[in-house]
Symmetry: C2
Subunit: 380 residues, 2 copies
Amino acid sequence: MKVGIVGIGHSRFGRRDDVTVQELAFEPFVEALNDAGIARKDIGATIIGASPVYMTQRSIAGPITEYLGLNPQPVWLTEAACSSSAVALRTAYALISAGMHEIVLVLGVQKMLENPTSEVLKIMGRSGDVQWEAPYGTTFANYYAMYANSHMAKYGTTSEQMAAVAVKNHYYGAMNPLAMFQKEITIERALESRIIASPLRLFDCCANADGSAALIVTNEEKAKQLSDTPIWISGLGAATAPFSLLTRPELATLSSAVEASNIAYNQAKIQAQDIDVAEVHDCFTIAEIMAYEDLGFAERGKGGEFVEEAYIGGKVPINVDGGLKAKGHPVGATGCSQVVGIVKQLREEAGKSQVDGAEIGLTHNVGGHGQYCVVHIFSR
Amino acid sequence: MKVGIVGIGHSRFGRRDDVTVQELAFEPFVEALNDAGIARKDIGATIIGASPVYMTQRSIAGPITEYLGLNPQPVWLTEAACSSSAVALRTAYALISAGMHEIVLVLGVQKMLENPTSEVLKIMGRSGDVQWEAPYGTTFANYYAMYANSHMAKYGTTSEQMAAVAVKNHYYGAMNPLAMFQKEITIERALESRIIASPLRLFDCCANADGSAALIVTNEEKAKQLSDTPIWISGLGAATAPFSLLTRPELATLSSAVEASNIAYNQAKIQAQDIDVAEVHDCFTIAEIMAYEDLGFAERGKGGEFVEEAYIGGKVPINVDGGLKAKGHPVGATGCSQVVGIVKQLREEAGKSQVDGAEIGLTHNVGGHGQYCVVHIFSR
């Protein structure tokens, strides 16, 4: 039995002091209901993807459930750091395939900016190893700085190549009215920006953000009934990598991404070259370069050169909604946001950044510093 | 297709300064693997039930996965406050029924006592409404004190009846070598203990604890192959209740528990009177009395009188492993711990607290102050 997406919603990402977390959840919820043409009573269960540690309100599923008017339906939260809402979608797929629910709402939501930046960095850093690594100063940028240094040393990847990823994603972000940053940048500006964690500069890093996104997921029969353009989940891969850097044989790749994408390609019976459009987890520019390789789009070590192929018209248009880099990265919402981007592409509703004739899309959502990775493949 | 439990493990509950959270997770993991007669490589995915907010280490699934040697298998966390590991089991059921994994490890784990008590109370209180209720001092005991006052006013329930629940659960806790408290108490001692939140006294409240429990869950074919005594999950119910007390029509019941148990009974095609043994969520003594009624064991309003029927030999032996009250309540581990108790009963491995010939068991795991409830029914 196939499982499909028939409704999507996406809030404006960025600083959202104008709303509570419940109100932020409400925005894409209503949009997704309307898109699917269903009422809230049609929802059988809701899975919320969020990292609970950024919010004063604990166990956020309770207040959101009430605010959205979903009682007494079951609701719970899934957490896998930055891939929290990708595992929420995986859970929804399982609930529907198992016949336990007919329609499941997947809701990714996160408010990070009510905390001071120093607190956000500390909380985020603590999803790395607090016992053996945090004492040496491992914030999140530090992990990816180590990956970047390793990739540069091993393959000759350059700061210019990393900056080119930022230029591309801001180019597309400028077309996305929901993105946190809607201005193009130049390679010079990126290269002149201040060092955050060497070799990563400000423009190599995505920004903490507030945001939310929602998906209405259902079984094959219901999907065909509700939508003329259901988007099918044709492959699902999830994997983990060793948590401690010490135990990873190498830093220039995320083994979880290699593993998860292979599982997803096998299930969908396709190969990397069959992907028409992809959303990859560019929390840092080096992360996108590593993703090119880990997902099989570029040869190992050639990721730095691949960015030109990731524009529309290239081999695989990637992050043409702006990616985490331009949209901002509200941890729990990012996985859902990526799926919204791909659904729009496969429905041919992506406006200025539409990839002509896109039929197969992929999302790559990395959790933490790569200890989790979830890859989904979609087809129309 | 049926889904069954073929392996269980349970750590000692209580103050566990002797172990890290990873080591605490390891204890029931190894026990469950040995019990099921499988190796770690046989596990397809792991769902961890835990509340992430009590730990300095964020996104705990990553370090636990590495420590247990489970990379590269997918692992994520589920959270629904105190019912976090019941929704983990619900997720595992879905993954197996959907054919996505053959064997799933469900692991409930929580270390709370590394925080000072005042901090634990504050964190726990924040799973209630931080905007409208916390400013009035709603710690967890306060919520249940309101329920108790309501139940007393409406039905004439007495402090003696609440104390009798504590006496029963400590009576059975004294037989459980893994319980935090292994001493019997008297009704006088309970009634003389200090007020925590009127009318609740110290002995009306369960204790914060460290602890862990694990389940190996698999499909029908594999379960029959691995075990002579697989325990089947024959009914699953999950529901939510309004989050804010303001919006609840009444405080002497948890509508989520009524809803969840009805769903589970219907799926299992049984009624309350068919249950041979149950584990209910006695975070406070009044919670057990409300559960008697919400689950249909006692008539509405007669819960206070029912405690004598909840001993072995009575109508439905309840919490005969000591319940949260005597075992302690390590938030994320409690749901799994309840299931371990029922599996032991249905396997006739419960030792001194065995209910003769128990064939059908129930677990009732409440999250927060009742905004979540998960009910599972098991049969042998």
